[in-house]
């Protein structure tokens, strides 16, 4: 489309649809200075008219949005001079009404967890090309992975590369010490806790795997920096014990630990997937991952995680973008473990509140238990008394946070029969 369109930002030209394949709701234009102008579909009013906002933005904001550094909402909020215009139905021959940022319809704007996803976009590549935004090619990725393979071969050990691709205070060969320090400390915690899961099992009750030749658990569950290089900023880590061992099986322990971390990180950004793996890791692993992802999100870092072991040829690669880190964090704090068991007692009620359904029961073994009467038997609660002996069934639901050993018990009185 080569026609110029009149807008509050001068004449603009249409470039493509950023989102989405299902219905165009974020359209990209450019002005005479090739500055991006964005049109956002917002809602349909009571008369069936489509409502749109139009605003101008910096190329760097578009780049940050496309790379997953900022959310769609942040992208909209970063409009130049916070200047927005509203129009209805068609951008052609339309009236534009100026809007203050505060007047934007917050209920129709993207959720703060909505980030750019290339699967939903038809035109993002041509839009990025037009504004000179470059994405890393597969060839560059392959070459960079080969470097890791070479280092692994030289060190004769499995190497894990943490590459701080982009982010606040990350440059070519430089990284803010505080950010790097926090990131590495939190990764080390994640490695340590995952290693303990591998060595002792996620319930940490007994030693499951036999450790080889007099190796300490502390060493086995720690990493050390192998080297650092300037490519944005990369750190190569290896298991602290690998270089001291001649045992093949032994070096595969680090494969197992890094593999477990890879599976965890790959699944934790999706709530459903997290549900399927949550029983395989201990709360301390989830807590470490929560802290690690918080650092990534807070500093808007794109982090590449690559692993290669020259001894086993085991490898994996993955990228954590800030929005994925945010998803991981949110999923962990909002997930829980629940287990339900039925308890059977004979004894007396010591407290009954027929209004709220609350009860306290003392068994003949002097065990006191409190909770609420289930809806099924709440009506018959009025017939319970403090003198008679009852046989009760109480379902006990134990709820614990994924990243915490503390749990909450919920007791429900399911049945109550008079005991002769």
């Amino acid at each position: 489309m080569s026609n110029n369109i009149k807008s509050p930002f001068g004449e603009i030209q249409y470039l493509g649809n950023l989102l989405s394949k299902a219905y165009p709701t974020t359209l990209l234009f450019y002005d005479q200075n090739k500055i991006p102008v964005v049109v956002e579909w917002i809602d349909v009013d009571d008369n069936g008219n489509d409502i749109y906002y139009i605003f101008k933005t910096l190329k760097s904001n578009l780049e940050n949005y496309l790379r997953g550094n900022i959310s769609h909402l942040e992208y909209i909020n970063l409009a130049e001079k916070k200047e927005y215009y509203k129009f209805h139905n068609s951008i052609f021959n339309t009236d534009f009404k100026k809007l203050n940022h505060k007047k934007l319809d917050k209920n129709s704007l993207p959720n703060k967890s909505s980030f750019f996803h290339e699967d939903l976009s038809d035109d993002y590549k041509s839009i990025a090309d037009f504004f000179g935004i470059k994405f890393i090619s597969q060839e560059d990725k392959d070459n960079y992975f080969n470097k890791l393979k070479e280092y692994s071969k030289n060190s004769k050990a499995g190497l894990f590369r943490v590459h701080l691709n982009e982010g606040n205070n990350i440059g070519h060969g430089t990284a803010d010490t505080k950010v790097l320090g926090e990131l590495l400390m939190n990764f080390e915690n994640l490695y340590h806790e995952t290693a303990l899961d591998v060595i002792k099992g996620h319930e940490r009750k007994a030693k499951i795997n036999n450790l080889p030749e007099n190796v300490s658990i502390t060493k086995m569950s720690s990493t050390e920096v192998y080297l650092q290089e300037a490519a944005s900023f990369s750190i190569y880590l290896k298991s602290k014990t690998d270089s001291n061992s001649n045992s093949k099986t032994y070096s595969f322990f680090s494969d197992e630990i890094f593999d477990k971390i890879n599976i965890l990180v790959s699944n934790a950004s999706d709530k459903k997937n997290l549900e399927s793996i949550k029983s395989s890791y201990s709360p301390t692993v989830f807590d470490s991952l929560k802290n690690f992802s918080e650092i990534i999100y807070e500093n808007k870092i794109i982090i590449d995680l690559d692993y290669y072991n020259t001894n086993s040829n085991y490898r994996f690669s993955q990228v954590i973008k800030p929005y994925e880190a945010n998803n991981i964090y949110e999923n962990i704090i909002s997930s829980s473990h629940e287990t339900e068991t039925n308890l059977y007692f004979i004894g007396n009620f010591i407290m009954l509140n027929t209004k709220t359904g609350y009860f306290s029961f003392l068994s003949v073994e002097k065990i006191e238990i409190s909770g609420y009467v289930s809806n099924q038997i709440k009506e018959s609660m009025i017939s319970f008394n403090f003198k008679n002996l009852y046989k009760v069934t109480i379902s006990q639901n134990s709820i614990s946070k994924l990243n915490n050993n503390k749990f909450k018990l919920e007791n429900t009185l399911e049945s109550c029969i008079l005991e002769n």
Binding site: P24, T25, S90, F92, N111, L120
Partner: protein, 149 residues
């Protein structure tokens, strides 16, 4: 076989100076999920996005004249949710329900399903998919969402 929107597609080919659209599409028998409104007879359910004049950007693309489907139900639900997370009122445009049906080789040509299980169908003339699709479920979870007209 002629496509349903043959006139528009011919104009499009002439505008884009190409031989035509959908050269990599093929006839398929395939199970399909599509987002619809609550009544399967709703006229908005099976019209391509480009036929809405407001979507000027799509009228110039081949895909704008095709209908969008998913091969896998869970992927269809997932994609719908992603879109609503991005634009909470988008259900007013893309639909509130999920429908299931079978696409036959005589219905038109399909693109290869993507990783997300999404694929397009360009319908042949006189095809009516309403008869073969039935609504499975409402996708709206939140009762506070604005009622549809």
């Amino acid at each position: 076989m002629q496509y349903k929107y043959n006139e528009e597609l011919t104009k499009l080919a002439s505008f884009n100076k190409t031989d035509g659209c959908f050269s990599d599409y093929s006839e398929k028998k395939i199970s399909a999920y599509r987002w619809t409104f609550s009544d399967i007879e709703d006229k908005r359910n099976f019209i391509p996005m480009a036929s809405n004049k407001e979507n000027f950007s799509l009228a110039k693309t081949c895909n704008g004249w095709a209908l969008s489907f998913h091969k896998v139900e869970s992927k269809s639900r997932e994609s719908w949710k992603k879109l609503i997370t991005d634009k909470p009122k988008k259900y007013k445009k893309i639909g509130t329900h999920i429908a299931f049906g079978e696409i036959l080789k005589t219905d038109g040509k399909c693109s290869e399903p993507e990783k997300s299980s999404h694929f397009n169908l360009i319908e042949y003339k006189d095809v009516d998919l309403i008869e073969r699709f039935e609504i499975l479920d409402c996708l709206l979870e939140n009762e506070t969402l604005e009622p549809m007209e």
